[in-house]
């Protein structure tokens, strides 16, 4: 299949009945595909200029527009999303918009609806020139502006050949489904170009929800990412899908071991992880299993580690030079390489490359701030946190309103400038940034500002008027700071806060306190303690009783009179 993509339309024209794709139960044939390619090609050929941005949700329509664009001699740019900043950033790079991009100024625009008028079924589809057909994919650069990466059809063909050689036999004839968008390289290759080149049927619609995955019962390959694989609901009936699934791919970011184990347990398949980037294309793969961890290079890919960073050379790149990645790596003892994380301030959050520097720059330019730093808080779901120093304008917002108002202003300021997933979720406003002995803003000091105030609860009982929960007193809680040096003890007031906070959650009430009675602190609580918290709510009297205990031992108890109305 070495040059299949160049000659795709010729090949399809001799097998018009071949099923190319399916959309909600409907089969789409090669003849259907060629008709759409001609529609896009003839319409795009009449549009002025060469460079067109293309965005479509439906993968079948997208594939037709992509090949139609190439047959019309266009150079296509694929934005990763439709954020206002992305769309306006395209304006000075392209001559027009195609697909579902919104209108922008007087830029020529071709939507799906426009196609009906101009379909030219005679449009001639000659073989494509693999060194002239080009598309531009986007990545986020360290400066924050998305960087366009050009891909020649030849490189894409080489990628597809590598995938077929490495995984073709295993994948077989199954229909290719995916949770990732074809506007990015992983989805483009795995969900669209590889199936087209290898005569496999692909699903035109992206699977957004786990329920849609569970509804699949015919032989399937799944092109997924950790965003979905980390969050598979245990309660769904996965049996039909587990029986249908042949191979599950994951790419876009590291797949945590727990997620790989969940996939294996629920779907009876060990996921195959693929490692690569927009710039380099595919680099390596590994499959979850005993002793896994090291990555094996894909066919045609050479690699070496230079000063701790991975370098690659492959047919997926535009030339035959070594390409320096920003991924720290080390050669693995048993062959292959292990990845040790990024060397720059790009952070992969839910498979999206987030530039911490870019968020910082946007915040620093906000009128209500004089300085800002952002950092990543690790956890089951990593979060972006921001430490900000309000300007005079920001101080006024704090004085006249509150921190919520300041945060709201900043979120609005960032909206459209950064990926919604990268909007900071935690905020601290300070008069000055914490500086270490070398005069630098220390990451450790910033991180300390976000230490938790409450432990993660495990609910044991949750009824209308009674609740009981188990709390492990994390030694990392901010309450132990200075209370007391060398002898950490949980402040009693922290337990009052916890009782009110969890009561609000348990009973759905406004837990603003009007009065406290019979407070007793019987035993000190030390870091690491496992506490039980019992809550009893009497709505008629607006009275909440609480007791913290550990086995037979009572640590604290008391009663609150609350505002109490349902919130």
């Amino acid at each position: 299949m070495t040059e299949v993509l160049q000659q795709l339309c010729q090949r399809l024209s001799v097998q018009p009945q071949r099923i190319v794709a399916q959309r909600a139960g409907e089969s789409l044939s090669a003849a259907d595909f060629l008709a759409r390619v001609r529609a896009w090609a003839s319409a795009l050929a009449r549009m002025p200029g060469v460079s067109y941005a293309l965005y479509l949700e439906d993968s079948f329509e997208f594939a037709a527009a992509l090949f139609g664009g190439w047959h019309a001699g266009k150079n296509l740019w694929l934005p990763g999303d439709l954020l206002p900043a992305t769309v306006s950033g395209l304006a000075h790079r392209v001559h027009g918009f195609a697909g579902e991009l919104p209108p922008l100024g007087d830029l020529p625009r071709l939507s799906v609806a426009d196609l009906k008028e101009v379909s030219d079924l005679e449009f001639s589809l000659d073989p494509l020139d693999a060194d002239r057909c080009c598309l531009q994919l986007f990545t986020s650069g360290s400066s924050g502006d998305p960087v366009a990466i050009a891909k020649l059809l030849r490189q894409l063909q080489n990628e597809v050949n590598s995938l077929q050689q490495q995984f073709g036999a295993e994948v077989g004839e199954a229909v290719v489904h995916g949770t990732v968008s074809h506007q990015h390289i992983y989805g483009l290759l795995f969900r669209v170009l590889w199936p087209l080149a290898s005569a496999r049927c692909f699903a035109a619609r992206r699977l957004a929800y786990p329920e849609e995955i569970a509804a699949i019962s015919d032989p399937a390959t799944l092109v997924a990412s950790p965003a979905h694989l980390k969050r598979l609901p245990e309660g769904l009936d996965w049996a039909p899908f587990a029986g249908a699934l042949g191979v599950c791919f994951s790419s876009g970011g590291p797949l945590p071991v727990e997620a790989a184990q969940a996939v294996l347990r629920l779907w009876r398949q060990a996921p195959i992880e693929v490692y690569g980037s927009t710039e380099t294309g595919g680099i390596g793969w590994r499959q979850y299993g005993p002793g896994c961890g090291a990555w094996t290079a894909l066919p045609t890919v050479d690699w070496q580690v230079d000063r701790g960073l991975l370098q690659v050379r492959s047919a997926h790149l535009a030339d035959s030079h070594w390409y320096q990645t920003e991924d720290r790596a080390v050669a693995a003892a048993g062959g292959g390489f292990e990845l040790l994380g990024r060397a720059d301030r790009i952070y992969k959050l839910e498979e999206r490359r987030i530039s911490l520097s870019a968020i910082e720059q946007h915040l620093q330019s906000a009128p209500c701030l004089s300085d800002a730093r952002v950092l990543v808080l690790p956890g089951a779901r990593a979060l972006i946190a921001a430490v900000v120093v309000p300007s005079a304008e920001g101080q006024q917002i704090l004085a006249r309103q509150d921190k919520k108002a300041l945060v709201r202003t900043l979120r609005e300021w960032l909206t459209g400038k950064v990926d919604p997933i990268a909007l900071p979720r935690r905020w601290r406003a300070l008069d000055v940034l914490p500086i270490d002995a070398r005069g630098k803003v220390s990451q450790a000091a910033l991180a300390a500002l976000f230490r938790p105030m409450r432990p993660q609860p495990t609910w044991l009982l949750r009824e209308a008027q009674t609740a009981e929960l188990s709390l492990i007193v994390d030694p990392e809680l901010a309450h132990f700071d200075g209370h007391f040096p060398g002898t950490p003890v949980l402040p009693g007031v922290a337990m009052l806060d916890w009782a009110l906070h969890y009561a609000a959650g348990a009973f759905g009430i406004d837990s603003r306190c009007l009065q406290m009675d019979v407070l007793k602190f019987q035993q000190l609580v030390r870091p690491g303690a496992e506490l039980r918290l019992r809550l009893d709510w009497e709505p008629q009297r607006g009275q909440l009783s609480f007791a913290f205990h550990c086995g037979e031992q009572r640590h604290a108890s008391g009663r609150f009179r609350l505002n109490g109305q349902a919130s």
Binding site: A227, H228, G235, R381, R426, G505
Partner: protein, 86 residues
């Protein structure tokens, strides 16, 4: 159904670990995603998992339906009230 709203609000705050946010700050009719509460597609997945765990509800596989159930706290409460198994 209205009785469920405070519970759903608490669940959202707990699941999303929303800081500085109390149940009374959430407008039950405001959109949960994007412009409203500002939740994103990852939050939708997490919230789906939490709702299934807590109420045993199963969403059907129609993405348009799911989008409507997740439109607001009110829509979500109505769906849970009708479909809860626990």
């Amino acid at each position: 159904m209205l009785a469920l709203e405070p519970e759903i609000k608490s669940l959202i705050i707990e699941t999303m670990a929303l800081e500085d946010m109390a149940p009374e700050d959430i407008d039950p009719t405001a959109p949960l995603f994007n412009e409203g509460l500002g939740l994103d597609s990852i939050d939708a997945l997490e919230l789906g998992v939490a709702l299934q765990k807590r109420y045993g509800v199963v969403f059907n596989a129609d993405s348009e339906d799911i989008r409507q159930h997740f439109a607001s706290v009110r829509a979500l409460s109505a769906f849970i009230a009708e479909n809860r198994k626990q």
